[in-house]
């Protein structure tokens, strides 16, 4: 938590200091009030009828009240700005940091969790900072000040007050301690409940098809019952909260009066002045005692809130601490143009000791098309991920334009590459914003966009949209079909005019005709661009200059379609599973 506080900007830091000072002023005015009241009480009680003095003190009291309200509003203003400003800086920093992480860290921290950390966890901390700033400064000072005011007056009454403080704070701590861990459990159960209902909803067709309605209900009921039990316990514990508080406060003022009368009765009847001063002390005491109790209650609350914010702060720091395992190099220029080469590359995911790829060697020249084919889980996606440096090779070298990808600056490497993912990623915004996403080596102009749309065979549906390339696209492209999303994400890669294009099974949602037209267009218009294609369909890749057949992480064969048909058994099997011998010729 304190580590995170360092992220606070100078302006906010100054504001919080001012805020703390204002709190002091505010307490001064607020605590002056009971003093005036004491004087007022004495004035009223004493025989001297001086209405003027009553008026003067009344005005002073109102003055103090207004001053206290004004300073406290000013404090609130500063605290609000500090809290919001602090969460602004942390959010900014965290978001920027997450963007700089590698694929590896992204998957180990998991996207949903990262989203939660950037949103909810920061809100948690902001709440503590905004509240804490006022209460954490105010309540201890208030408590000490109030204690000082009543300390000299009567040790008996002070003792009584102390006893009540211990009693009330003790009950709060006891209740919170039993309830807090269960709060976390409620949160988790609520997540599970949500997930179970979501499961049922997303699989509603399967649920109906299997007549599994009862099964789903039972599952939901079980979790719901657990949730109910935990919540019931919590709420019942909390039933003690309010009555105990009120009883404590009322009991204290009652106790002070009782004890006070006993003390009063012990003073001899003749000592009128000390009786009067004791009497006014008692009335003032009740007020200050309330301040003491309330301050302690607030302090306890803050202490209770602190661990929760601490958890959030820990989760944020965990991300900020995380360094990307993919380190940027310094080279800006390649030695060749449009060349991709793998030299004895092996790769294992960091958390597994089994190699996903073993001893991969190949080279592809400028303008050539190289295709990767193989069974589900054979390592095709992993292989091309190494070119884009989503991961780094465990052994061997991946070279782009004759330079190891690890040696390039990120910008230099990414300028060369255009990448289309397996699952189309679409952002909300216009068609144009989706295609001219980010920056390329040259500025992405409108004619680049138009050409990219045409080449991606997307002009047919983009043209039909009401505002052309300025038409709106919903979050994750919900208003587009699977094939349309894929074509847009292809257009995005093309618009950057890269040297090397990478397609990770990006044609699977296209029908044969669109697929063929798209590839023909690429061949004709982008003959100087090197293409790396992962595919399932033989039709998609059979005309590639080179086909790499992957089997269980190893290369089972490299060559053209015709060569592989003769030499590579695995390839022949794949091919004949799709097309007849006759068609393959």
């Amino acid at each position: 938590m304190f580590k995170l506080l360092k992220e606070m900007k100078k302006r906010e830091a100054i504001m919080s200091v001012i805020c703390a000072l204002l709190v002091l002023v505010q307490i001064y005015f607020e605590l002056a009030l009971p003093d005036y009241m004491r004087t007022l009480t004495e004035l009223i009680k004493s025989a001297e009828n001086s209405m003027n003095e009553v008026w003067v003190i009344g005005f002073k009291m109102i003055g103090c009240t207004l001053a206290s309200a004004a300073t406290s509003i000013a404090c609130g203003y500063l605290a609000a700005r500090v809290g919001a400003g602090f969460s602004y800086s942390v959010r900014e920093k965290l978001f920027g940091h997450v963007l700089s992480l590698g694929q590896n860290e992204m998957s180990s921290l998991s996207v949903p969790s990262l989203i939660n950390r950037t949103t909810n966890d920061i809100t948690q901390i902001q709440m503590l900072v905004a509240m804490g700033l006022q209460i954490a400064v105010k309540s201890p000072i208030m408590a000490i000040w109030a204690i000082l005011k009543i300390l000299g007056k009567s040790w008996e009454l002070s003792l009584l007050t102390a006893a009540f403080v211990v009693f009330i704070c003790g009950s709060i701590v006891a209740i919170m301690f039993t309830v807090l861990p269960r709060f976390k459990r409620v949160q988790k159960l609520m997540d599970t409940l949500n997930r179970t209902a979501r499961e049922n909803l997303t699989g509603i067709n399967v649920v109906h098809a299997f007549n599994a309605e009862e099964y789903q209900n039972k599952k939901f009921f079980g979790i719901n019952k657990n949730l109910w039990k935990t919540q019931l316990f919590n709420q019942r514990m909390f039933s003690f909260f309010q009555p105990v508080m009120i009883l404590g406060m009322n009991g204290l003022s009652l106790g002070i009066y009782c004890l006070g009368s006993v003390l009063l009765s012990q003073i001899s009847a003749e000592d009128f002045s000390s009786k009067l001063s004791l009497f006014s002390d008692i009335t003032v005491f009740t007020t200050y005692a309330m301040y003491v109790v309330m301050s302690f209650m607030m302090m306890v609350m803050i202490f209770m809130m602190f661990p929760q914010a601490q958890v959030s702060a820990g989760r944020i720091n965990e991300v900020l601490k995380q360094k990307s395992s993919v380190v940027e190099g310094t080279v800006n220029e390649g030695k060749e143009l449009g060349v991709v080469e793998f030299k004895n590359v092996s790769f294992a995911y960091p958390d597994s000791n089994e190699n996903q790829l073993r001893d991969i060697n190949f080279r592809v020249e400028r303008g050539e098309t190289i295709a990767f084919i193989g069974a589900t889980g054979s390592g095709k996606t992993t292989l091309i991920n190494l070119v884009a440096r989503f991961f780094d090779a465990t052994e061997g070298e991946v070279l782009v334009d004759g330079v190891n990808v690890k040696d390039y600056t990120f910008d230099a490497l990414y300028d060369k590459l255009g990448y289309v993912s397996q699952k189309a990623i679409i952002f909300s915004g216009s068609v144009r914003e989706n295609i001219a996403f980010g920056e390329a080596s040259d500025e992405i102009r409108d004619d680049d966009i138009d050409l990219a749309i045409k080449l991606a065979q997307a002009d047919e549906f983009v043209g039909k949209m009401s505002n052309g390339i300025d038409s709106h696209i919903a979050q994750s492209g919900k208003n587009l079909s699977g094939g349309q999303k894929q074509r847009l994400s292809i257009a995005r890669a093309l618009a950057r005019n890269p040297e090397i294009l990478i397609f990770d099974d990006s044609f699977s949602a296209l029908d044969y005709r669109t697929d063929a037209a798209l590839r023909a267009g690429l061949e004709k218009n982008l003959s100087g661009v090197t293409k790396l294609i992962v595919a399932q369909r033989i039709g998609t890749i059979r005309h590639a200059n080179k086909i790499v057949v992957l089997d269980d992480g190893k290369i089972a064969g490299i060559g053209t379609h015709d060569e592989l048909m003769k030499t590579c058994g695995v390839y022949r099997e794949i091919a004949t599973s799709q097309l007849t011998e006759e068609e393959l010729r």
Binding site: L40, F95, T118, A197, L201, T202, Q231, P243, D511, D515
Partner: protein, 600 residues
Amino acid sequence: MNHHMKKGNMGENKFEKGDMNSAIKRLLLYLKNSKGVLFSGLLLAAMGAVMTIVGPNRIGEIADLMGEGITGKINLAEIFKLSGILAGIYIFGAVLTFLQHYILSGYTLNCSKRMREDLSKKINRVPQKYFSSTSYGDILSRITNDVSTLQQGLSNSLPGVVSSATQFIGCLIMMFITDFRLAICVLIVTIIGMGMIVLVIGRSQKYFIAQQKNIGNINGYIEEMYSGHMIVNISKAKNKIKDKFSALNQSVYDANWKSQFISGIMQPLMTAIGNISYVTVCVVGALLAINGNITFGVIVSFILYARLFSTPLSQIAQGITNMQTAFASANRIFDFLETEELSNEENKKSAPESVKGSVVFDHVSFSYPDAPDKIIIKDFSAAVKPGQKIAIVGPTGAGKTTLVNLLMRFFEVNSGSIMVDGVSLEEIKREDVHDMFAMVLQDTWLFEGTIRENLVYNMTDITDDEIRKVLKTCGIERFVSGLPHGLDTILSESTSVSAGQKQLLTIARAMLQKCPMLILDEATSSVDTRTEAVIQKAMDELTANRTSFVIAHRLSTIKNSDLILVMKDGDVIESGDHYALMEQGGFYSELYKSQFEKTA
């Protein structure tokens, strides 16, 4: 938690009085058997409030007795007697408050449990068309957020409002009884103060709405950018995105501090009002006391009354805002619970004992209920003999998946009929229709749980041997046994299972189901063709003598079908087996040939 829930409901704060009435009516109807508990809880809340009012008067009396003690002899016995009574009142009040909390929290939690159960059951009872107009997130938020909001509203805000109102009225009466002059003074100060608070609340609303909206925006943006992380990096979009993020973050900041600030004003304002009425009581009280009109005890009581009087007002204001949200939630819950359900089919026929599997589409036409003008299937007729493998091909939007929906009776035909073994599907119970078909869909559906749980699902009497056999047929036996815990490995978001493997798992689940007929809708699109060929062989064995329907983009998947139906714009434009269609030289052969087109 509370914070979270408010977020979910902010958008619906526009609330009509009529809605509130209807919410109350619906709620009372829902709670009809147990209303008594709710009302007794509220009664306890009111009684507890009465106890807090009685107190100050007695404290005043004690102060008076003490005051007498200054000049004369102090009456300790009387003071103790009064204190005893007062202590009794306080304890009684505390017990009442405790009981109220205890009863109401238990009661409302039971209600919310029941409500959630009903909502969950309801999901499986509404017709499919409901989901095309309502998003999943919306339904989920009713189950979690709305129920919680309502529960909290009923257990906190409602008794809070009741007890505050009681306290307010009671205080007012007691003050006027004690001394009307002071009462009027306190009343005037409080009314002026309340006016200011109402003014602040009225202005704050738009900042709160802005805050929720901005937070929603930035969360959406974060979600998109984190999910598209690799694209962001490789497109060198980091700077552009950071700029846009900063702009969003800035507006969050603005709305954030403004709403925080305004809600922060409330507290000092309340304190100021309390203090001013305190001063008023003192000054006016002093005036009156000096003139001998009232005793000092009256002033002490009044100081306490002034406090008790101004707090409930802000509680009522806040409570009513919360109640509005709670009732808005109630309406959302009941809207879903009262949605039209699937028709009752108890009187319908059961499926024939042994299904032979002849399927006839007789002039079927269909359009989705939310777009009745857009005819998806028009006048579709086809006859399928028992045991045939039927393939349905055609461009996207041709109505292939719709046919499956009709076969499973997820939707009902507009006209015409679909008959299995000569019996119209509409005459058979829905569950029995589902039992006739095993189905694998385009979107793989797996849930968080072990692989075994995902495969067995709700089926009974499935042995591990059977599971292993099916896994082998699907070619994923090695994959599963390679996992750390084999069949007991838990599938979750962090388990790395490829899209193809997921499809294979769902196929395995359908294979375990042993239904007389089979539907595969793009079931193998992410599976490599070799594995697919293996599955297909197994499927063919499995479906020998079983009627099966296959939809696929990949034509190699369906080449060996007995009958291929080529669909376009809701109609069958060609039909026949592969060779016949190729010879015909129509749409199908064109589609088929396009995979060999030379591109270079």
